[in-house]
Subunit: 240 residues, 2 copies
DNA sequence: CATGTTTAGGTCATTGTGACCATAGCTATC
DNA sequence: GATAGCTATGGTCACAATGACCTAAACATG
């Protein structure tokens, strides 16, 4: 099938391909990322992004889904999953040329990750902690995490992925918290409500309500069909 | 360096990695994409996206730049180049598992591609032609092209990449033509001018003018420093 | 029943937008 | 040299969207 290329395999070496995942969720009013911590020497205590090799006969998306389910024990089809970028600097691994296809996954407060074997444990780590230069050592994982965070923040503006963080049914306050926690600054509840409900098919009212311990009951919503958000949610004044 | 993964190379096969480029430019008031046509049998006359294998010790971006320069004879550093997505379906190539990292390149009306050898020729093909199902046969190249087009169209909205299509210095009409040709519908010249000049550092006036054969001379501009466009250019009413 | 808390919804001045219109400044032609 | 034709530039105006507020509704608690 590679029929009209001059190059064949000359000049290339076999390469190994992995997928790495940046899995975000919201816990305790903070954005968290799933990291894998090695429990035994060598490299005890070091964190990496979850990931692994793509297997024979497996698509990239399938590999990402499999890793996602292995690490979180959750059905990946209920999450938002998209490709971030492929990192392939020569020199990432001395033994073999390796590429990693980075994925971004967004989901509602996920179950505690499956109990780790004694060799590796999955942990939800606050993103602010994970970004600290002392936490992520491996490869270019810090860079991947930063890019995933930038992508997630940007996509909240002009797409409806924010709803992927919310378990259905959800309140508008739940949805607003997604924006506030991801962007790091508060939004006006009233103006937020106006934008979300006026946007075309971002959310759909269920007609039901949720009574928390305090305050007026909140109307419950489900995700709409729209993928793009128009008009977009702006964060221009707080752009960093 | 792959130190905290359970999997080693078990269950994986060596893979070959290529880069493929979607190179857009504007010629004769239409969006064109660079395609490679095979001049000799077998597969004579078939078109593919330009691309090739990543070489030893070469970054992905470097490989994309090299292919870009090989096919167009242009200094790739003057173009906008960004990664699109990695395509890696098993079964793309029966001989060996192959992945292709697709890149999107945007540039001003580029020189006629380098004269092809008798085996392969580079051609500027109108995108409307290239999207026709009879043109692109190889692999998933039609899908890659479509995704590149979608990405380019979307990025015109909220980034300043449109200016990458314009050779400096350019007029606001030049810039507007980029939007019109890429999006496929006309924009009001007056409102376009207002948005572009009010946006923060999208373009900078040079103080000079260009006299075409007809009409009032147009002020000349250069690209500003801004990467994101605020407020964004909207195309909501024409969304397809 | 008063108070606190959260949701729901309204007001209003300001800004951005889309659809126009008018003028400026050039070339080509009569 | 006047005029027509053309494009660039700038302005108007009604309307929509936005941000900063404010008020009321609907619950729980003491």
């Amino acid at each position: 099938m590679i029929h009209d290329r001059e190059q064949k395999y000359d000049g290339t070496v076999p390469a190994a391909v992995t997928v790495d995942l940046v899995i975000f969720t919201i816990r305790d009013a903070a954005l968290h990322v799933l990291l894998i911590r090695r429990g035994k020497p060598p490299f005890e205590g070091e964190f990496t992004l979850p990931g692994g090799f793509v297997r024979v006969g497996e698509n990239l998306d399938e590999a990402a889904l499999r890793e996602l389910e292995e690490e979180t024990g959750v059905d990946g089809r209920t999450l938002h999953l998209e490709q971030l970028r492929t990192f392939g600097d020569s020199g990432r691994d001395p033994r073999c040329r390796t590429y990693t296809v980075a994925y971004l996954a967004l989901g509602p407060d996920l179950p505690i990750p499956v109990a780790g074997t004694d060799a590796r444990e999955a942990h939800w780590v606050p993103v602010s902690t994970a970004l600290s230069p002392t936490v992520l050592h491996a490869f270019d994982h810090a860079e991947i995490l930063k890019e995933g965070l930038d992508r997630a923040r940007a996509k909240l503006e002009y797409t409806t992925v924010a709803a992927a963080f919310c378990r259905e049914p959800f309140t508008l306050a739940d949805l607003r918290h997604v924006y506030e926690v991801t962007w790091g600054f508060p939004l006006d509840p009233s103006n937020f409500r106006r934008k979300v409900t006026k946007a075309v098919d971002f959310v759909r009212a269920t007609g039901e309500f949720r009574s928390l311990e305090v305050g007026r009951p909140a109307a419950l919503y489900r995700r709409g069909q729209a993928e793009n958000l128009f008009p977009p949610m702006t964060r221009a004044d707080h752009n960093s």
